[in-house]
């Protein structure tokens, strides 16, 4: 029985998975980072995992939450743990692009002459915290587009590389929307994740009050060295993404479009525009990082499901009917994940694969 669409698998000896030893070493490093993050911000384990997934995927993260929930603290702690340069920019309506990117200054040089010298902006760093990014004007927001996508800044026809790695961790406040500018879709699409930072429960609050004076977190005890970070990035590059998982990601992203044949009922009813190909790429990278977090050399379907919501939730453009029916992107994505067959068997409706049975003779 040969299937017409079956692709010949690549030679088994062509690529080799990471060895258990390599994976376990990387996993140890990740656990160390996570442990320190969890000690810094209490009660945010899942958020920390996703932020770390974003960092390992070299993606930008948009954090959305009420003031005072620890967004800035999280990003600061991450910068300290990873020993990366960290800049913070408070976005305001009067912030100009040059305030972020930098500007040319006319200076006198020894010998009586004058020249234009470039004064780098806060974007020239490893981690840029764009606090309350939606308060800046679209012009200023757009100044980050090239930096986020290309990792460089072009001013007066001269392109300057940003330090590597470069991450933008932006935050925005879902309330007090007066005087804010919603992020354009092009910029939203450049964020790997959009994570919701929610309130903590009473137990966590009690723990914070009891153990922290003025809420100041303890400094990280064992930050990551540059070599360790590079090793993590290197291991991350070698996480294997099987072809069926690639196909699952593609089908998932395609199904967010109302025109797709696998689109669910909610997608058909409430979605105007689905996710872009950039979303599929982001999901693949994030799933790789998630698999590494789980200590596996290859990506499984569960890894994709774990990162699907933060990858897709800011990329779906809903219609007015969704707002009227109070349907959020979260509901749409969850339904998509529930209804889509991961393996893509495309079996008829009356044929089902039931729970496993023993193969023992």
């Amino acid at each position: 029985m040969t299937h017409p669409h079956e692709q010949a698998p690549a030679s088994v000896n062509q690529t080799a998975l990471l060895s258990p030893g390599e994976i376990s070493h990387a996993t140890e490093l990740i656990k160390r980072v996570l442990q320190q993050l969890d000690q810094t911000l209490l009660g945010r384990e899942q958020l920390h995992r996703l932020v770390l997934v974003g960092i390992l995927s070299r993606g930008h993260i948009l954090l959305e939450g009420l003031p005072g929930v620890g967004k800035t603290a999280l990003i600061k702690a991450l910068g300290q743990i990873l020993k990366l340069q960290f800049n913070r920019v408070q976005f305001t309506p009067d912030l100009m692009p040059s305030d972020i990117l930098g500007t040319h200054l006319l200076r006198e040089i020894p010998g009586g002459g004058r020249e234009m010298t470039f004064q780098p902006g806060p974007v020239f760093t490893n981690i840029l915290l764009a606090d309350e990014i939606n308060r800046a004007s679209p012009k200023t927001q757009s100044a980050l587009l090239e930096a986020m996508q290309e990792g460089c800044v072009t001013l007066l026809g001269q392109t300057r590389e940003l330090p590597r790695p470069f991450f933008v961790l932006a935050s925005q406040n879902p309330i007090e929307l007066e005087g804010t500018y919603p992020l354009p879709e092009a910029q939203l699409d450049r964020f790997l994740f959009k994570l919701n930072v929610s309130d903590v429960n009473v137990d966590v609050l009690t723990e914070i009050i009891a153990t922290r004076r003025r809420g100041e977190p303890p400094p990280p005890a064992e930050p990551l060295t540059a070599d360790e970070l590079l090793h993590l990035m290197h291991v991350m590059e070698q996480i294997f993404l099987p072809r069926p998982v690639c196909r699952y990601i593609s089908r998932l992203v395609a199904a967010t479009h109302p025109q797709a044949h696998e689109a669910t009922e909610t997608v058909l009813s409430y979605v105007n525009y689905g996710a872009s190909p950039r979303a599929a790429i982001a999901m693949a990278e994030a799933a790789r990082a998630y698999a590494l977090l789980e200590g596996r050399p290859s990506v499984g379907f569960d890894d994709v499901k774990a990162v699907a919501i933060p990858v897709l939730n800011h990329r779906l453009i809903l219609n007015y009917k969704a707002r009227f029916d109070q349907v959020s992107t979260l509901i749409i994505i969850q339904q998509l994940l529930e209804q889509m067959d991961e393996a893509g068997l495309a079996l008829p409706a009356d044929v089902r694969i039931q729970p496993l049975q023993s193969t023992a003779p």
């Binding site: 029985m1 079956e6 393996a343 044929v351 089902r352 049975q357 023993s358 193969t359």
Partner: protein, 464 residues
């Protein structure tokens, strides 16, 4: 083969089997539906018997085979099945990765319950298959009289139609009927066979009687014509043979007169007999007209006239054997056209002068058995005993088309040789010139005049 690889293949086979079965059931249902419909259509429309339609059973095997093949073609690939099992086993992509890369150092251990169960809820498809099966069976079992009541009541006229077709073919071969007339008759016969309905046989039989009557009429006319031609040919043959024998003993004037009479006889015969006109060569006809035939040519002429006579007699024979004319007429012809040239030659030699020759030959052409051996036409006739009434046979005659309808309410009372009698008394004329006469008694009461009175016949011949 690794354990997980074996399970992947086993799962794939199971899925393929279920899909194959599913498609086969769908194809079987489709075929049974089509087959049943075809059976009904063929049985109802064309009255095809059941046995040849059983060949459709072979289609069941074909449909099942094609269905299984198509189902297996839609079986998922090994990689897809790996993905399915990877998800079920929570292998985190290792099972999928094992197909594409080296997983040395990593152990893929299938769980104790590793093989998924492939379930097909095929109640609907099997229900549909059952319905189609019942439909196909019903299409065979339903009686023909229900399917095609018209065909079931069809009048069986095949034998009669075949007989008439043979007769038309014979008439066509013998050139009795022109081709257009023969074709129209054949078409009418075909239409008659096609439209012969059992619910109204009267129409069919009437039409067939009409057709048969037309054929019989044409045959009788052809037979009469052939008889006349044969008679004329025989007379001319006899004269030609007699002249051949007595030509050297006759005077030239007598011979010329006889020749002239012969040419006239042949001319008359050739006017009606196309065969004779075709048989005689142009040269022979010219010399006959000029009266310059020699002995050898006279012999040849006699031979050809004899051939024409035989052709005409043969045609009558064929018509009789085809029962298109009364076969008894054929027996009547036995010996009727035997020629006796010796006697005629002797008579011609005895004639003195051309006038006597002409008178003698004219007398020979008169009706009556005559013959020079028994004297001339006005010689006394000899008769055998009178014919008996008991040996009489009625001549078969088809009733006119409307006659059957008029007899619709008639009832058979009995069979009698006597004239039919009316139970109701005839009204008696009350005075008048025709009182007590037979006038107005109806045609059925007319007396049959039998030819048993010699004097009546003699009076007929004495009229000259």
């Amino acid at each position: 083969m690794a354990e997980h690889q074996r399970i992947v293949e086993q799962t794939r086979r199971r899925i393929g089997l279920v899909l194959g079965m599913r498609t086969a059931v769908a194809f079987l249902s489709g075929w049974l539906l089509v087959w049943g419909t075809l059976v009904l259509v063929l049985r109802a429309g064309l009255a095809v018997p059941r046995v040849p339609l059983l060949w459709g059973l072979a289609g069941i095997l074909v449909a099942a085979g094609v269905g299984i093949w198509k189902g297996i073609r839609h079986c998922p690939s090994s990689m897809t099945v790996r993905a399915l099992l990877d998800q079920h086993w929570h292998s985190g992509g290792l099972l999928m990765a094992s197909a594409e890369s080296n997983v040395a150092g990593w152990e893929i251990s299938p769980p104790a319950a590793a093989l998924p169960r492939v379930q097909w809820n095929g109640m609907r498809q099997f229900g549909l298959l059952g319905c189609c099966l019942l439909f196909a069976a019903a299409s065979f079992l339903v009686p023909a009289r229900i399917l095609n009541p018209l065909h079931a009541q069809r009048l069986q006229v095949a034998a009669e139609v075949e007989k008439l077709a043979e007769q038309i073919e014979l008439l066509k071969e013998e050139k009795v009927l022109p081709p257009e007339r023969a074709q129209s008759l054949e078409e009418a016969l075909k239409q008659l066979q096609h439209e012969a309905a059992g619910n109204d046989p009267g129409k069919t039989w009437e039409a067939m009687d009409h057709l048969e009557q037309s054929i019989t009429k044409a045959s009788a006319e052809a037979a009469e014509k052939s008889l006349r031609n044969a008679q004329k040919s025989a007379q001319a043959e006899e004269l030609a043979a007699a002249l051949d024998q007595a030509g050297d003993r006759m005077q030239a004037s007598d011979l010329a007169a006889a020749m002239s009479q012969l040419a006239m006889n042949i001319g008359n015969a050739a006017e009606e007999d196309e065969l004779l006109a075709e048989t005689l060569s142009q040269e022979l006809q010219e010399q006959l007209k000029n009266g310059t035939l020699d002995q050898e040519q006279l012999a040849e002429l006699a031979k050809k006239l004899g051939e024409c006579k035989q052709c005409n007699l043969s045609r009558i024979g064929k018509l009789a054997s085809g029962r298109m004319i009364d076969p008894s007429r054929l027996s009547e012809l036995n010996g009727k056209f035997q020629i006796d040239p010796d006697a005629l030659a002797k008579l011609l030699c005895e004639c003195k002068g051309s006038k006597e020759v002409q008178a003698c030959l004219l007398a020979c052409n008169k009706p009556g058995r005559g013959g020079v051996t028994r004297g001339r036409g006005d010689a006394a006739m000899t008769w055998t005993d009178g014919s008996s009434r008991d040996e009489m046979q009625f001549k078969e005659k088809a009733l006119p088309p409307g006659a059957i309808a008029s007899l619709k309410d008639a009832r058979l009372q009995g069979i009698s040789k006597a004239d039919p009698t009316s139970e109701t008394p005839h009204p008696v004329n009350a005075g008048g010139a025709l009182d007590a006469g037979n006038a107005g008694r109806g045609s059925a009461r007319t007396q049959v005049v039998l030819p048993e009175h010699k004097r009546v016949v003699q009076r007929y011949f004495d009229r000259d």
